[in-house]
């Protein structure tokens, strides 16, 4: 594919992104509201705009995390949700919430929550890797991820058992919730996204080498194990910061890389960037649906992505014979 064609596609994706963010400012609590100028400034600048941008950033982080996971483990079904890192992040959030007082979020607690989510996400992937005895068997890795997810969510239920007053807060994290995103949260996610993208682009030769097979990658003389660990850390960073603001959002990380695979034509760097953009578009689009399907009622965005993403995954499984090596 010639380069200018790629730029055109990038431009188109960015245009779609901007249109969706604009739509996010128009879709309100009472359904679609075209009287743009009459909308209260507070609602526009303090609620709708941070929410739309926040949903986009969280989606971008998850899309990137999904692309890293799929490249790193050479597994088309890897995603933060299935690998146990999302539930690990949620457990981190739960523990930090448990330690701080409820309802009083300052910037300091926000950093605490993000830090906890990052640590939890890292713990989740590493535990899944340990349980699977490495990443050589894709099937075992995915199963381990699912098991870790179950154990971590049980631990989370235990937290609400110990602190029933946390139930409301944790519940909104478990279902995936974009409605309370603040500008501070956007700042956090923006920083995380920039750091993650820069690091991943820097490390993308590893992913390219890995796509040629483990042995070939070794012959290139790269310190594979260390670089892999670094990529896992980036994966945890992206997942953790997304979960800390929006809670559990299923399948965005899985679907985004698949949707752009045929555009990127196998080039790792392009694939990573495009997955990130596609993730943003997916989550923001789902958020718009969540706001408007039953307006003025609003359903948690996690439910929308789970239904859409789950359906897409089934379609993918039927259409392509995804090679899962046992």
């Amino acid at each position: 594919m010639p380069k200018h064609q790629l730029y055109l596609k990038l431009l188109a994706l960015f245009a779609v992104s901007l249109i969706l963010i604009a739509l996010g400012c128009v879709f309100g609590s009472t359904g679609i509201d075209w009287r743009f100028t009459e909308v209260d400034r507070t609602i526009l600048y303090e609620i709708r705009l941070p929410r739309s941008i926040g949903a986009y950033l969280a989606g971008a982080l998850l899309g990137l995390a999904g692309a890293i996971a799929q490249g790193l483990f050479r597994n088309p079904l890897a995603d933060p949700y299935l690998l146990g890192s999302a539930s690990g992040a949620l457990l981190g959030v739960g523990i930090i919430l448990c330690l701080s007082s409820v309802g009083e979020y300052s910037l300091v607690t926000l950093i605490g929550i993000n830090g906890g989510a990052f640590a939890g996400a890292l713990l989740g992937v590493l535990a899944a890797l340990l349980l699977a005895g490495g990443y050589k068997s894709s099937l075992r890795l995915l199963l381990s991820g699912v098991v870790i997810g179950v154990i971590f969510s049980a631990a989370n239920s235990l937290l609400t058992f110990v602190r029933p007053d946390l139930y409301q807060s944790l519940q909104s994290f478990m279902l995936g919730n974009t409605s309370l995103i603040t500008w501070n949260a956007n700042l956090m996610m923006g920083l995380a996204l920039i750091i993650s993208i820069l690091l991943t682009l820097l490390l993308s030769p590893v992913l390219s080498a890995l796509s040629l097979g483990e042995n070939t990658a070794r012959t290139l003389g790269l310190p594979l194990d260390q670089l892999r660990l670094l990529l896992i850390a980036v994966l945890a960073l992206a997942t953790g910061f997304a979960v800390a603001q929006t809670g559990l959002i299923a399948f965005v990380g899985l679907a985004a890389p698949h949707l752009v695979r045929h555009i990127s034509g196998g080039r790792q760097r392009v694939q990573l960037i495009l997955s990130s953009i596609a993730g943003g578009i997916l989550l923001l689009g789902s958020d718009l649906l969540a706001k408007s399907i039953f307006a003025p009622l609003e359903i948690p965005v996690g439910i929308v992505t789970a239904v859409l993403g789950g359906g897409y995954l089934l379609l993918l499984l039927r259409r392509e014979q995804i090679g899962i090596r046992k």
Partner: protein, 279 residues
């Protein structure tokens, strides 16, 4: 002139259950309540007409049904709340929306109502904040109703062992919950010991062993309850002394609000009826 101004800007300060001081220059005119028991308390104090929006579960008094519904506990609709331009929002202390509302400079009063004493305190604070002078009257009425409910029961009905099931998990009403306090005021013997806390999740076997003479639960749970292994032998089930509550009655009983007196009357009435029919 200055004296006149001084009077007109005299502010009311109320400390809410987070320990936060809320200053109100004048009694708020556009109220939002995001908790059914708070909604009912506000209305009992005669300020129902100042409510401009409520949560999804607030359904009493009936005059509320045309107000905008602003979501539930964990999914309050922030934008709809802001759009209503409230001058005070009343919420449960554990609601995740509090910090967001305060970011947007909307005054929030948070409450934690778990016991009857909590409700008395809540009524007083609301009285202060809303500029009503009704808390004493409302509280006295609740107390009078509870006393009346107590008098409906005779000596044989009092001291009966009672099990109140909050939901089918099963969660029970412990002695330190407001429901448990009502049972105590009716001089009934709650099978749940004090040490288990307000709403403990219990092992069904515990209930079988405690042999309650009365079981209280919502209408929807009764069929499944009777089918639980071993429960057919519980005296209350065997002698059919089961108090079931319709949705409207359950709403009265499970909300720690101004209708607690009415709740006591529902409980005592059922016990009186059940022990008559089984005699």
């Amino acid at each position: 002139m200055c004296g006149f101004l001084g009077i007109s800007i005299a502010a009311v300060e109320v400390i809410d259950d987070r320990g936060k001081t809320i200053s109100l220059a004048s009694p708020p005119q556009r109220l939002i309540s995001l908790l059914p028991s708070l909604t009912e308390s506000i209305c009992a104090l005669g300020k129902c007409n100042h409510l401009v929006g409520v949560d999804r579960f607030s359904n009493w008094p009936l005059s509320l049904q045309n107000l905008p519904k602003l979501g539930g506990m964990s999914d309050s609709n922030l934008e709809a709340i802001v759009q209503l331009k409230p001058d005070l929002v009343m919420v449960d202390k554990s609601s995740p929306i509090i910090s967001r509302l305060e970011d947007l400079r909307i005054p929030v009063m948070a409450f934690e109502i778990k016991t009857m004493a909590d409700e008395e305190r809540t009524l007083k604070k609301l009285d202060l904040a809303l500029g009503s002078k009704e808390a004493g009257r409302v509280w006295n009425q609740i107390q009078a109703e509870i006393t009346r409910a107590n008098k409906q029961l005779d000596g044989s009905q009092k001291n009966m062992r009672v099990y109140f099931e909050v939901n089918a998990a099963p969660y029970a009403a412990g002695r330190s919950s407001f429901i448990g306090e009502l049972l105590t005021r009716l001089e009934l013997n709650n099978i749940i010991p004090e040490s288990l806390g307000p709403f403990p999740k219990i092992n069904p076997e515990f209930v079988v062993q405690a042999k309650p003479q009365i079981i209280m639960l919502s209408e929807t749970g009764v069929t499944d309850m009777k089918k639980r292994p071993g429960w057919a032998d519980i005296p209350a089930v065997r002698e059919n002394r089961i108090c079931t509550f319709k949705k409207e009655q359950s709403d009265v009983i499970v909300r720690p609000g101004p209708r607690m007196g009415e709740a006591a009357l529902i409980l005592s009435q059922c016990i009186a009826e059940k022990s008559l029919s089984s005699k």
